[in-house]
Amino acid sequence: MSDLHDDSCVDYGLTRRNLLRSAGLVGMAGVATSMFGQVLTSTAFGATNENILVVLSLRGGADGLSMLVPHAESAYYAARPNVAVAKNTLLAPDNTFGLHPAFAPLADLWTAGKMAAIHAVGMPVPNRSHFEAMELLEDADAGSAERVGWLNRMIGCFASNDVFDGVQVGTTVMPTSLIGPEPSFATSDFESLSVPWGDNAEIGPKVRTALASMYKDAGSVIGRTGQDALVLDKRAGAIAAIEKQGPQNGAKYEPSYSELGQALASSAALIKSGVGVRAIAVDFGGWDHHVDVSWRIASQIKEMANCLKAFFQDLGPHASRVTVVTLSEFGRRLEQNGAAGVDHGYGNAVFAFGAGVKGGYYANWPTLSGSNLRDGDLNVTTDYRNVLSEILEARFPSVGVGTVFPGLTRNNLGFMSPY
């Protein structure tokens, strides 16, 4: 960062944590929220063995250079005299890369070849505005003015076209990726999702009949939403019941107050309930590390690694259907700033875990040498849409990648086993 320019911005993650403490007023404020796509297929309670995609959004712009460290680059250590991750602390280093030591809880997953670390990933053009970058990332259809998110286009490719195509937990405001013609819904958890007096044998059925008669106009948004709500009412109970049983197989989401842990536990319940979820996205905020990146990111990575470890444990045999991928709106500057932090940059690291993943390091590594940088930052050599496409192709053969990411020139890195 040039010395005359203070690029720090509000740490919205901090703001959200502050708000979170206000129990009772936390509706929108979750540090970690999750949204669920294609939750329940039209075969209602029929257990399904379909594959599932979990998108973990690291909101705020995660510093890929701290997470997946290019330890062979002297430029990395030169640009970050106080905040570089020391080479001798790295997990599983090869000749080029090593993982931040806080990934330790996932060491077993790495050894088992179920974790891929991919570098120099991002959007084709740099964008350093949080809102705009996140919106472009989630819309992922550069040529179109339509606000239809890529997850919405993905769930549109399944034959079911069910009312539960998208569920967001933690906020009722849809993220851009889910917005579009395919129905979706939002909630903070799976409890209290029934019609009023729904448990009452006498009045419950009458309430349902009365609501169904008032919400019979499928031609209006409110009519359709009301109908979707009545279907949700029928099904949410089963998920809530599984949710109440708590984590299985000795899984512990740590720390216990982790919002990410709670969202992943709810997601695991949704998967275990066997009602046919296809895509889940979870928000994990607090990565906007303009100040003191070292300890902050160590704590973030540790929480993420602990919770993901618990998630796969909790899933048990269902884990063989679940692939997790991380996304963040942008990487951060190569050079540290005056506050031992890093400002908004460009190229970033992406991680994939679980089913179908061929573990290891992947990158068309552009190096950090001067001429290969983009405005002084790590360049992007892999379009993030190609990372997602590779997962979709490998795990969701019925999804047309061209529909989800129109106009994308396909390039595979080979980090997924063919389905």
Partner: protein
Amino acid sequence: MATVPGTQPLLPESAQQVVRRFTFGYNSRLAAQVLRHRDVYAWLEDQFQVNPDPDANATLNWFPRLGDSPATAWSMAQSGKYGGWQYGNDFAMYSVARRVAATNQVHEMMVDFWSNLLHIPVGEDSSFPWRLDYDAKAIRPNALTSYKQLLNAAVVHPAMSGFLTNYRNTAQKINENLGRELLELYTVGRPDPKAAQPHYSEDDVKNSARLLTGFTVKVFDGFAAGYDPKLHYVGPVTIMGQTFTNSAADGRAELTRYLNWLAVHPRTAKRIAARLCARFVSDDAPQSVIDAVAQTYLDSDTDIKSCLRTLIAHPAFKASAMQKARTPIEDVIAAERACDITHTGAGSDSRVENIAWFCSWTGQAPFSWPRPDGFPEKSDTYLSPARMLRSWTHHTWTAGPNGQLKQAERPTSRELSPPVWPLPLADLIHHQAVMMTGRRATDDVVSAVATLVDKKISHVFKYDWEKKNDHMAWMLTLIRTAILNAPEAMLR
């Protein structure tokens, strides 16, 4: 059988639409207020005057800590006696209570609208000691004046400086945060990513920030606010082709020139007009009404009342009836008003605290949006099935005349029932619907009620036991639940 009173609407449908759009919800007191004027437009002009509103002002007294000076608030938070988040909760509850109680409904609506455009989340670390002052001094007095005045008051306010880090923006070290949002969110809007020639560049953003230098807030240190010319960047800057000489050591006069220039920029006119139309016409308002409002905005030197007059007079407004969904917050407040629940305080577990929680539970904790771009104005965004289930449940808990409310009053079942006996079920339904929404119940609502109460639509209450309080209270609960849960009651 006597005619049942109160089963016909008091206001014509065109007046009801104005009321639904520009207030936080119908009730019979509001109807009476409108009826004291020649028509709804005369009422609106009266509302534009922003007469004294003691009922609304009284709600502030329920939150004694909101009277703390920024220095006191900071020291309370620092010592752990009263956290920033508690100040935030208080402010959120105060705002909700005020919207329920206010006689100046149009003013409250515009305060909400501008607060959302010039959004500062509550309880946020670096702005919370100044958050009430921002509402009271920047937004409220200017909500029905001109955007020029409003923008000038909001942008330099210490709460804004704290939230968008302008307090760290100095000639020596530019922090572009506020300078960027000023362009992107508050005035000309961000350039289309596909535009060949974006209307502002990253250099314009930095220059925008340069004109904002000099303002100080001692964030995390007493929060005193001031202006220090030594921190102001002096020298000419060019923004979107316009050069500001910026030669004075004290840059405030030049900043006013910049803000005034931005306020009357045609792109600002379009952006403000589009946002007004998104809130008050429809999610996808026709370009014709946006253009008309933008033209009035420019012709009237950004006068807000003139913009609203143009918007309401435009045919697109009338054509947009029932095309906006109530957001979760709007719905909670409208239900409170429809049920004529009046608050008397806001202590622990009070009704005011409950309804702030209902807002959150149905998906929209007041002022909690974490980013400066404010809650989405597109109301269909809030229509999710889970929200519907929770809103229906909230209506059910709110509709009945039974159950004690803490620090609040509501009509008894005797007060709600028309003084007529025997009493036809259909008439009772229309009586309740007119009282709560201003309109007669639809056929769908009438038959839904018949299902709920398990009676024929033609049923007539005539037996003594049917008149008994607990029975009638239960009937009223079911009837009023159906009225609030109908789709049209969740639209505005």
